[in-house]
Symmetry: C2
Subunit: 253 residues, 2 copies
Amino acid sequence: MMENNRIWTAALLIIGDEILSGRTEDKNIAQIASWLNIQGIRLTEVRVIPDDDTRIVAAVRDLKDSHDYLFTTGGIGPTHDDITVEGISHALDLPIVIHPDARKCLEEYYSDRGGLTPARLLMARVPKGSTLIKNPISGAPGIHIQNIFILAGVPKIVTTMLESLNGTLKGGKPVLSRTIGTWDGESRIAKTLRETEKDHPDCKLGSYPFFRNGSGGVNLVIRSTDKESLNKCAQDLIARLLAEDLSAIDGAI
Amino acid sequence: MMENNRIWTAALLIIGDEILSGRTEDKNIAQIASWLNIQGIRLTEVRVIPDDDTRIVAAVRDLKDSHDYLFTTGGIGPTHDDITVEGISHALDLPIVIHPDARKCLEEYYSDRGGLTPARLLMARVPKGSTLIKNPISGAPGIHIQNIFILAGVPKIVTTMLESLNGTLKGGKPVLSRTIGTWDGESRIAKTLRETEKDHPDCKLGSYPFFRNGSGGVNLVIRSTDKESLNKCAQDLIARLLAEDLSAIDGAI
């Protein structure tokens, strides 16, 4: 839902010892960032913190006030290290309650899996006043409270939770991008890149070197919320690189 | 270098619009976390912020004071969006100087690649008082100033920079880990897991569900700085799971 011209921002808080220990490679930053962009919302900060109540409280308070939205991943399962709901309830000074619809989801999900045990019922706890985010994969729903969206840690479950949030958040214009590849190094294209950016105030240019099989080059990414400005800048950048006898390919290498 | 029994901590600051836009999937958190653990240092916070001077200054000041070490990745190339050195110099109130050894590295690296141009010389800038971190891949060195280690963004270059820092940082005992896999869900093993952790105060237990090809289970990770405690806890956890008629496999699934 697009609303006027202002920029809408989000922060992502990843709660998980497993990311900080290096055991698990994060797959959620990129998918949440891409999804937010489609909704017209810019991810402007990510933090990864341990499964620790004090750290969750501090980070939630800080990030929810400085962004339009705060997304969290991880820590909503039924084990002793799943303390996200407690942490966020503390941060918001809200009591924890059993959400009746979450209980119902879990009852249905576990009806042919041994029924709703006390451990499973833990996954129905929410900060008072929350609504639920559907989770067709494993029963336990995500949680929406104020401007906070509490998602699972497992990337596949995050994907389905994001799908169910599609188009429901207020946002602005999505950032569009085009990539121009070059086999010339960053230091050779730096001047052209800087000058091109200066002449296209509606666009931001980023430069991402790569090294593959002994060869290297740079992918130049142009970003803008305006399609026409984006395409003009791309044409201009290609023309300037070629005029300097540098290589320029329309598309990422 | 192990030094007494205290816990040594590090933060990681990832500077890069490309991570926040979803264009590039981060590969540095996991490799830096694993490397730090081998050095006996715990990664206790990660932040990802845009290529923005004000944001770099605020994050650097915050994280360097609250951790033994601060690592940064990204933004040390020769293009206009590479502003990490400026940002960190501002944060530390230090002037930027050309490091003579960095100039020499770059002169050598570019001797058969067109020589040291003004754009390339930008990569020799450091906050005054810095020492260099070797980069055999692309010439431009990393930078060490106070408790801050400024690394490249390209994961392969980060790998070689970490190699050259191997064993040079003060640290404590590395955290050891063992994984026990089970095909039973989190809600079935939650009680056993919680009770096992309570009886092994030297160990921390984490629970990481997975879903693969329509089946699911949980990898239970035990962490401790003491090998004997770790092995005792693993044996006990397996015995308790089997006694409850739950599946238990020694190793990750």
